[in-house]
């Protein structure tokens, strides 16, 4: 229990499986928010680069990047880089008293290995944070740093580094499309009763760089997807976890879709169809349909690692298979996150994140 001490802490936040047994929603996110946290409201007007930075008056926020890569050795790889922010109170100061906690997760997936690293930080003293001009999101020696020119969007070009005990990576990212706003112009609804977050993405990165593995360096290229999301209460009390897909179709289209599972069987889905130029169309609850095909025993629990994904309105009917079914993030709040391959009506690659499987 001792080593969990800190965890549940940041636990306010995300991936606590602990709360699932209760009627409470996943990771404590479904708690009724009081204490003066700001709630997302419809019709947001984003202002950049400020909104690329942190929003301390909201309980949770993340900078979440996944990338499908191919190595010079011909193998497929995937990496994850996430910086989470969790607020104990809706304020921020520049000393130890700042009630914000940062958590970093880094993952590196190969067809037969999955590396994970995790780190935690206090706010206010410079161990972690996000600055906007120039843009830099960091925790310890992990960085997501903007290399974009002055007039371009700060997220349109990035360098990305992270390091774990036995791996590290350094990547250059270049976006060839605009930011994509999820849901209703960035107001993303998470339940029928209206829980919501602010949510936008940059799904158009091309990537090159180096992975450092125990066996040596691998040069890689590929694509990447960045999610920015913040909220104060994104889940309903009965919502127990989610299945989230980001798909790079070979047609150059992109798809984001997620399902929030409900203990009462009343699942909620949302999806965005993104045209090659960046035009985004939000799809209503029920338009995005997923069915588990194969369940893999990972970390003592059954996790669906092959899915049938259908969006009938767009003629999408595909099967997804995991590059490595054991892409288990053995962090303080464990979850599954890894690269997938697509086959069926469309082909391509993508990333899958699944939380709340017991």
């Amino acid at each position: 229990m001792k080593d969990r001490t800190v965890a549940v802490a940041a636990a306010l936040a995300w991936f606590s499986m602990a709360d699932l047994g209760s009627a409470q929603g996943f990771a404590g996110l479904g708690e009724t928010v009081e204490d003066g946290f700001t709630q997302p409201v419809p019709n947001p007007e984003f202002s950049f680069p400020a909104d690329h930075g942190a929003h301390p008056s909201y309980r949770i926020e993340w900078w979440y990047l996944t990338s499908n890569l191919t190595g010079s050795d011909g193998k497929d790889y995937g990496i994850q880089w996430t910086l989470f922010r969790s607020a104990l109170a809706p304020t921020q100061t520049d000393d130890w008293s700042s009630p914000q906690i940062w958590m970093g997760h880094a993952g590196l997936t190969t067809p037969d290995q999955h590396f994970v690293s995790e780190t935690l930080a206090r706010d206010g003293v410079g161990q972690a944070g996000v600055t906007t001009e120039p843009f830099l999101a960091f925790i310890d020696d992990w960085e997501m740093r903007s290399t974009a020119s002055q007039d371009a969007d700060a997220l349109s070009a990035l360098t990305l580094t992270a390091r774990g005990e036995d791996f590290s990576y350094a990547l250059e990212l270049q976006a060839d499309g605009p930011l994509v706003f999820q849901g209703d112009r960035g107001y993303s609804i998470k339940s029928e009763s209206g829980q919501a977050s602010y949510y936008y993405s940059q799904p158009f990165y091309t990537v090159s760089g180096t992975l450092t593995l125990p066996d040596g360096d691998v040069e890689v290229t590929g694509s990447a997807w960045l999610d920015r999301e913040w909220s104060s209460q994104p889940l309903e009390d009965d919502q127990t976890g989610w299945d989230w897909f980001s798909l790079h179709l070979d047609t150059d289209e992109r798809v984001m879709g997620f399902r929030l599972r409900s203990a009462t069987g009343n699942d909620f889905t949302a999806a965005t169809w993104i045209a090659p130029g960046g035009l985004a169309t939000a799809l209503p609850n029920g338009a995005f349909q997923i069915t588990p095909l194969t369940t893999t025993e990972v970390a003592g629990r059954g996790v669906p690692t092959a899915w049938r994904v259908q969006i009938p309105s767009r003629g999408l009917d595909i099967q997804t298979t995991a590059l490595n079914p054991r892409s288990w993030m053995e962090t303080l709040f464990p979850y599954w996150e890894g690269p997938i391959r697509l086959s069926g009506s469309h082909t391509g690659r993508g990333y899958l994140e699944m939380t709340g499987y017991e």
Partner: protein
């Protein structure tokens, strides 16, 4: 087997018929074990507390990064984190409240390695509360502080050492007024590969291994050695009782032994039986002694805890835990003790011819040759003591010197007493008084063990009370010098301190800053103080040695003062230099006495201090003011200026607190002293009881010749008083030598200071009377027994039917 059992029953039946003797033997061994195990229980408890304190933040498992210059900026921590090093910051310091010195531990629970997570913060609410100011402390400390004096929500936790408060590092920086500072970094056991070396990022930091022994443990070692020595002394004295009780039982059962041997019990079996019997006694007395020892320890522990807290700032739980190792140790010592006490008797039994005359010889009558051997041994021990004293170094050799010296003196006692009695006999007139002196001399061998015990107890008493008395005199005088200022006040922040200086300026005669910096001095955690150039110091400061113009040089920043502890430990004197933080090799110009402080300390001129350590908080001040105005000023400080009462203290209060700490320091020694003396009195009683039975044949002829039983009984009492008085007389020089050794050798090694010796003849007189009284009380019972013997008992002596 049946031989064994039958014989054992026969042997044991003896005790049923002599319940008093049974109780004496059991009581002696119980007492000896009790004192020894009591002391051990105290030591074990204290050591466990140190270990707990040491492990509080995983210090016993984790590597740490420290700076030789003391606390360092948290930017260094951030730089290491940003370079990828998994480190977690800790700020450690002390604050003083009415209840005493409190150790403040500030941690960052978010980055702390698992080994350092003393408090369970796994519940979200607990973590949230901790980060927003909840403070954890040991239950007793929380109870004390809850009554006022600490402005934060307190939660009790049994995982913390008793004087420690655990809080968030941010809060600790405020409480300790060390904003932006860190005392050390904890290194996670596993680190990422390929990181830049620490030396490149933070060259000022040293990496040190896990601390399995805390600083406190090494500091307090001497104190515990002290206690152990006392415990051992008491144990030895207790064994005198056991030895005489076993010896008596042996003599009394000679007939039985002879009969058993004649009936076909081999010497081997007989000795085996007696070994079994001894073992039985040892186990029984061991268990009883452990129980008694537990109570002694429970009784003394609060004082010991207070002492350790006051003297070393070491936190010790004042509740006792039973540890298996303690039980085993206690029983083992009981068995060893019983074996040692019985060895002589068993040896004699082994060599006893089957049909040895069964008449009891005068018990333990030492031949001239034996006495000569004893004298030779005594001198050898005394020579050993002197050589160890001259050649040895350190606490252990100090105690060895004391041990050799005391045992040597004890062994010499019978010889000395014999000589004194011979001298007394010269002045005897009349046959009865001649007989009295001669007879007293002849009683010596039988009483000498008990008298040796008395000598040891008296000498220890004189020695320790002289040491404590000298210390008290010196200490009170020193306090007067050291605490010359009338009021001491601490501001809570720099801003407040500045306002305070302005506010005070027109109201007091002088404001003397007391600014200090925690730093490692000669490798030990210590402090550097900045002091103003003021007559308060020039006139009063207790300098032991000083270079010419000492205060001018201190004021000019060209010389510093160090305390006696540092001077003695490192052999530093005026003319040498001492390495202070920021690579300042400062010339030493004086050494001052600094009683009650275990840590090294240096004093530098205020301007030099400010120039070299500008970031040090300037919060504490000593104020000079007409003493009559002091209490008024303190009131105004609270009502007008708005400082809380716990930020200031006046001279009288601080002195009385210091003296209280001092008095408690020696409560334990005092208590053990009294116990040892009582054990010695009991030893005399049992010896006299033993001898009383043997005395009948010796006294019967005198009675037959016309001396009444009553008169003979009075002679017995007088003899005990005489021996008590002579022993007390002999104990005096031994005790004074002991006091000298304690002051000049043990104290210097244990505490780091040497004290001038003062003598207290009135105390000696009291102690001498006490010794005589003890002997009288011990002699009263056997004397009464003697005076009420029926004539037929006496006459039976002369007849053959025995």
């Amino acid at each position: 087997m049946s031989v064994f059992l039958t014989s054992l029953v026969a042997l044991l039946s003896f005790w049923r018929r002599h319940p008093g003797q049974f109780l004496t033997l059991l009581g002696g061994l119980t007492l000896a074990t009790a004192l020894w195990s009591g002391v051990q229980a105290i030591n074990a408890e204290a050591r466990a507390s140190y270990a707990e304190a040491a492990s509080a933040l995983g210090q016993d498992e984790l590597d740490r990064l420290i700076s030789p210059d003391g606390p360092f900026a948290e930017d260094i921590y951030i730089a290491l984190r940003r370079a990828g090093w998994a480190v977690s910051p800790v700020l450690e310091g002390t604050i003083t409240r009415d209840s005493g010195v409190i150790r403040v531990l500030g941690i960052d629970p978010i980055t702390a390695p698992p080994a350092a997570q003393t408090i369970d913060l796994s519940a979200t609410e607990d973590l949230r509360a901790f980060l927003s100011g909840r403070v954890y402390g040991a239950p007793e400390l929380v109870a004390t502080l809850s009554e006022g004096g600490f402005d934060a929500p307190l939660t009790a936790s049994a995982n913390l050492a008793s004087n420690t408060l655990l809080m968030d590092i941010g809060l600790a920086q405020q409480v300790l007024d060390q904003r932006g500072l860190i005392s050390h970094l904890l290194l996670w056991p596993s680190q990422h590969k390929g990181l830049p070396p620490i030396a490149e990022i933070a060259p000022m930091l040293d990496r040190v291994g896990p601390d399995t022994r805390s600083d406190v443990a090494s500091l307090t070692n001497s104190f515990h050695l002290n206690l152990t020595a006392f415990g051992l002394l008491s144990f030895a004295v207790g064994l005198f009782i056991v030895h005489s009780a076993i010896g008596l039982a042996f003599e009394q059962r000679r007939t039985l032994f002879r009969t058993l041997r004649a009936l076909g019990v081999s010497a081997r079996v007989l000795v085996g039986l007696l070994v079994a019997e001894t073992l039985l006694f040892a186990l029984l007395a061991g268990v009883l002694g452990m129980i008694a020892g537990f109570f002694i320890a429970a009784l003394l522990l609060p004082d010991v805890a207070a002492t350790l807290q006051g003297l070393y700032g070491a936190a010790v739980d004042d509740t006792l835990t039973l540890r298996p190792s303690w039980w085993i140790g206690g029983l083992a010592i009981a068995i060893l003790g019983a074996a040692a006490a019985a060895a002589q008797s068993l040896w004699r039994l082994w060599r006893l011819p089957i049909l040895a005359p069964a008449q009891p010889r005068a018990w333990a009558r030492a031949s001239e040759a034996a006495l000569r051997r004893q004298t030779a041994l005594a001198f050898a021990l005394i020579i050993a003591a002197v050589s160890v004293g001259f050649l040895g170094d350190g606490l252990l050799s100090g105690f060895a010197m004391l041990g050799f010296g005391l045992v040597g003196a004890a062994l010499l006692l019978p010889v000395v007493l014999s000589a004194l009695l011979r001298l007394g006999a010269r002045f005897a007139s009349g046959p009865v008084s001649e007989w009295f002196w001669a007879d007293t001399r002849q009683q010596l061998p039988g009483l000498s063990l008990a008298l040796m015990a008395l000598l040891l107890a008296l000498a220890a008493n004189i020695g320790v009370s002289t040491m404590v008395g000298s210390f008290r005199l010196t200490f009170t005088g020193w306090l007067d010098q050291r605490l010359a200022s009338e009021v001491y006040v601490t501001a809570r922040s720099e801003a407040e301190a500045e306002a305070l200086r302005e506010w005070l300026e027109p109201r007091v005669d002088a404001i003397l800053p007391i600014w200090n910096l925690e730093a490692r001095l000669a490798g030990q955690p210590g402090e550097v103080y900045g002091v103003a150039d003021h007559p308060t110091y020039r006139d009063n400061w207790p300098l032991l040695t000083a270079a010419p113009d000492v205060w001018d040089r201190v004021a000019a920043g060209t010389g510093v003062l160090i305390n006696e502890q540092l001077s003695r430990r490192e052999g530093l004197f005026p003319g040498d230099t001492i390495r202070l933080p920021r690579q300042w090799d400062a010339p030493i110009v004086g050494v001052y006495s600094d009683y009650g402080n275990p840590e090294p300390q240096a004093m530098v001129g205020l301007s030099a201090f400010q120039a070299r350590y500008p970031e040090t908080p300037r919060l504490r001040y000593a104020l000079r003011i007409d003493p009559r105005l002091a209490s008024g000023l303190m009131e105004e400080l609270q009502t007008d200026f708005g400082l809380p009462a716990d930020t200031m203290i006046d001279q009288a209060s601080i002195k009385s607190i210091s003296l209280q700490i001092f008095e408690r320091t020696f409560t334990v020694t005092g208590a053990l002293n009294v116990l040892t003396l009582s054990v010695a009195a009991i030893a005399i009683l049992t010896s006299l009881l033993t001898l009383a039975r043997m005395r009948l044949p010796q006294l019967a002829p005198l009675w037959a010749l016309g001396l009444t039983r009553k008169r003979l009984a009075w002679f017995e009492v007088l003899r005990a008083a005489l021996l008590g008085a002579l022993t007390a007389l002999a104990a005096l020089p031994v005790g004074l030598l002991l006091a000298w050794a304690l002051l000049a050798v043990i104290n210097v090694d244990a505490f780091g200071w040497r004290l001038p010796m003062h003598v207290f003849p009135a105390d000696w007189l009291v102690l001498g009377l006490l010794a005589i009284l003890a002997a009288l009380v011990a002699a009263a019972w056997p004397a009464r027994w003697l005076s009420t013997r029926a004539p037929s008992d006496l006459l039976r002596i002369f007849a053959n039917e025995r």
